[in-house]
């Protein structure tokens, strides 16, 4: 049997109970004994004194008849009386002979006596000298003996009850605990063997074990979510990498099979390099996503002006938009500082603009705006393209998901998931709103008040700055 914490706890309580019992009983016993001894000695002394009075006033014969009367009257055995002459020859009383163990000198003694046909254990006797006579008075302790015995029995019973109850409670607790531990163990071993769906059993009442189980279940939920995510991603990776790799393989195989002209071989090789580049790009995007998800990039956080960041991104995409006859405009309510990773935020914003450029109708318009909102610094990219269906909004931020609208457009389906991951790293999330028609993608970042100079803490000039668009369109 394994060591049980419940059992040893119960044992501990039993030991404590016994100690308390002893601490209570010992002084009681001592006080009782002392009181009885003293009371009895005093009683004997009074008895002896009364007999001495009789002897002094009425003489030895009167004492003898007095003793005989008392012995005859009394209930057998309770009182011990003996009067002897100087040579310890019995003259009166209920003892047949002077007990050998008692000297004929005055004092109190404890002896074993034979009274009639029965023996008396540890009788207390008092000896007095009356002229040439010796007087012995004593009392049988039998009266108190049952009381003592009952006391000891009671004490023993209390100990026994305490031990048995302790053991019983210990075993019951242990069994209950073992049942729960066992069920936890079974669940955990099922989880160890790979089935993450199991959860620890919990009860309605909130005891320690239950609280622990709940916490562990929370942990398991998180682990399952992560594992599920990893599994999803690896499936997607397998799928999305397999396609370009398959193309690459068939391209190379065909090349070695057909052995075309040199010029065509070069073209095919260029195509193969492009295929490899596509694979590398997917890898890079995934690695960066993994890196962001792991939350490792917080080291890159600095205080930066999102308005600047957005202006640069808009400027960067301006020529590309112009080429597509899309009017890319930028609107800002002034400098807004946030704490963030400049590389990742720039990439997220660039992904959003790139996305908008892909779906905005040509000719059309896209507006990038930075403004202070209730939630913080709000960066939005709005287009008037097809937008995203309500049902699809959750899916588009998933890795490798590509909506129907994106079929036939370049991209690997990681753009919005990267934006989402970057937003999450910055304690925000990507909101995809309806722009009626079109899509309005919004990122809200916490404003870094500490990094703001006093001049900038003043609320942005209302209408003037917010409405007048500072368009960066190139001539």
């Amino acid at each position: 049997m394994m060591r049980s914490s419940a059992l040893s706890l119960a044992m501990g309580y039993v030991a404590l109970g016994l100690a308390a019992l002893v601490l209570f009983a010992a002084p009681l016993w001592y006080a009782w004994q002392v009181t009885i001894q003293e009371g009895r000695a005093e009683y004997l002394q009074i008895d002896a004194q009364r007999l001495t009075e009789v002897y002094r006033h009425e003489g030895a014969d009167a004492l003898k008849s007095f003793i005989d009367t008392r012995v005859g009257m009394q209930i057998a055995g309770e009182r011990i009386l003996l009067l002897t002459d100087a040579s310890l020859h019995p003259l009166a009383g209920n003892l047949r002979a002077w007990p050998a163990a008692v000297p004929a000198t005055p004092g109190n003694y404890k002896v074993n006596l034979g009274l009639g046909d029965r023996g008396i254990q540890e009788a207390l006797v008092h000896v007095t000298n009356l002229g040439q006579y010796n007087l012995l008075v004593g009392r049988d302790n039998a009266l108190f003996r049952p009381l003592q015995t009952r006391f000891w029995y009671g004490l023993a019973a209390a100990v026994a009850v305490l031990c048995i109850a302790g053991l019983f409670v210990g075993i019951i607790t242990r069994r209950a605990l073992m049942t729960r531990v066992h069920s936890i163990r079974q669940t955990v071993s099922a989880i160890i063997h790979g089935d993450l769906k199991h959860r620890l059993p919990t009860h309605v009442n909130d005891d320690e074990l239950n609280t622990l189980s709940r916490t562990i279940n929370g942990m398991l939920d998180q682990i399952e979510l992560l594992v599920h995510g990893v599994r999803n991603v690896s499936n997607s990776i397998a799928h999305d990498l397999r396609t370009p790799l398959a193309e690459l393989r068939s391209r190379l195989e065909e090349l070695s099979l057909i052995r075309p002209s040199t010029e065509q071989t070069y073209t095919e090789i260029d195509g193969a390099v492009a295929d490899v580049d596509r694979v590398i790009r997917i890898f890079d995007a995934l690695l960066r996503l993994a890196e962001i998800d792991a939350g490792m990039r917080r080291s890159g956080f600095v205080s930066l002006d999102v308005s600047d960041l957005a202006a640069n991104a808009v400027e960067f995409y301006e020529p590309a938009a112009e080429l597509k006859h899309i009017d890319l405009t930028f609107r800002s309510s002034g400098s807004l500082r946030v704490s963030g990773d400049p590389v990742l935020l720039a990439q997220a914003l660039s992904n959003l603009i790139d996305n908008a450029l892909k779906y905005a109708p040509q000719p059309g318009s896209i507006e990038v705006a930075v403004q202070r909102s209730a939630g913080g610094a709000e960066i939005s990219v709005s287009d008037h393209g097809p937008g995203i269906d309500e049902a699809e909004k959750n899916k588009v931020v998933q890795r490798f998901y590509r909506g129907d609208a994106s079929r036939g457009t370049p991209g690997v389906g990681l753009g919005l998931s990267l934006v989402q991951a970057v937003a999450k790293l910055h304690g925000s999330s990507l909101e995809l709103k309806d722009n009626g028609p079109g899509l309005r993608a919004v990122l809200t970042l916490t404003i870094d008040e500490s990094g703001v100079s006093p001049r900038e803490t003043a609320p942005p000039e209302p209408a003037a700055a917010a409405v007048a668009p500072s368009t960066l369109a190139l001539p």
Partner: protein, 226 residues
């Protein structure tokens, strides 16, 4: 140029050494950190290409730190399979001058080596730049071709300035992204190409001889030669 490559992968080494030699450079190869450290310390190189992860006890960054402490100022390009931004920063902080992630296009490597070498030769940021009949004065920010003034947006000016400082060299898209826009990521569409074609409109359109040329599978170059 005399170049040292410290790289343990045999295939990559062969490919890089061969490519460097074809580009007209002298290239030495060290396969271990120990050999690399010895060569780098004893021979005068123009540029060192250092793999970050080397077999054995000495890692690439440690070698760079030792060289820098010993007072060697040779430009060093770090090659690494680690693409995380933090690794990049750590690499540059240890004394590396540029950082290139594996796998890489050889053109990218060559272009970066050229840029490093040029930078090490010392640049006068105020001296006027001239390529053929294209002139740029970084101080007055005036650009002329022939005798005709050319008006450029600030970013276009920065782009042209970078290209002209690396005249006759290939400059890759990634180099432009990093140095002109400070973007350390790969935008999904070829936005850089659009910027280049806009710039080309301004400096080359009305002239017989184009100066800003596209180098296939590599990037761009500004050159006056044929």
């Amino acid at each position: 140029m005399k170049i040292l490559l410290v790289e343990d992968n045999e295939r990559v080494s062969q490919f890089v050494i061969k490519g460097l030699q074809e580009a007209g450079h002298t290239a030495d190869h060290a396969a271990t950190g120990r050999d690399g450290m010895f060569l780098a310390a004893s021979e005068p190189y123009d540029v060192i290409i250092m793999d970050r992860m080397l077999p054995g006890d000495i890692d690439g960054l440690a070698i760079i730190e030792v060289l820098r402490k010993a007072g060697k100022r040779t430009p060093i390009l770090i090659l690494s399979a680690l693409s995380e931004v933090d690794d990049r920063i750590r690499g540059l902080r240890s004394g590396g001058d540029d950082y290139l992630t594996k796998p890489f296009a050889f053109g990218e490597l060559l272009a970066r080596i050229d840029a490093l070498h040029r930078r090490a030769e010392g640049v006068n940021h105020e001296a006027p730049l001239t390529v053929g009949d294209l002139h740029m004065d970084p101080l007055t920010r005036k650009v002329t071709r022939g005798n005709r003034p050319i008006t450029l947006q600030p970013r276009e000016f920065k782009l042209l300035e970078y290209l002209m400082r690396h005249a006759d060299q290939v400059v890759t898209r990634t180099m432009l992204l990093e140095n002109v826009w400070d973007y350390h990521f790969d935008p999904q569409t070829n936005v850089v190409d659009v910027h280049i074609s806009k710039l080309r409109q301004k400096i080359d359109a009305e002239f017989e001889r184009p100066l800003l040329r596209t180098v296939r599978n590599a990037g761009y170059t500004v050159t006056a030669s044929e």
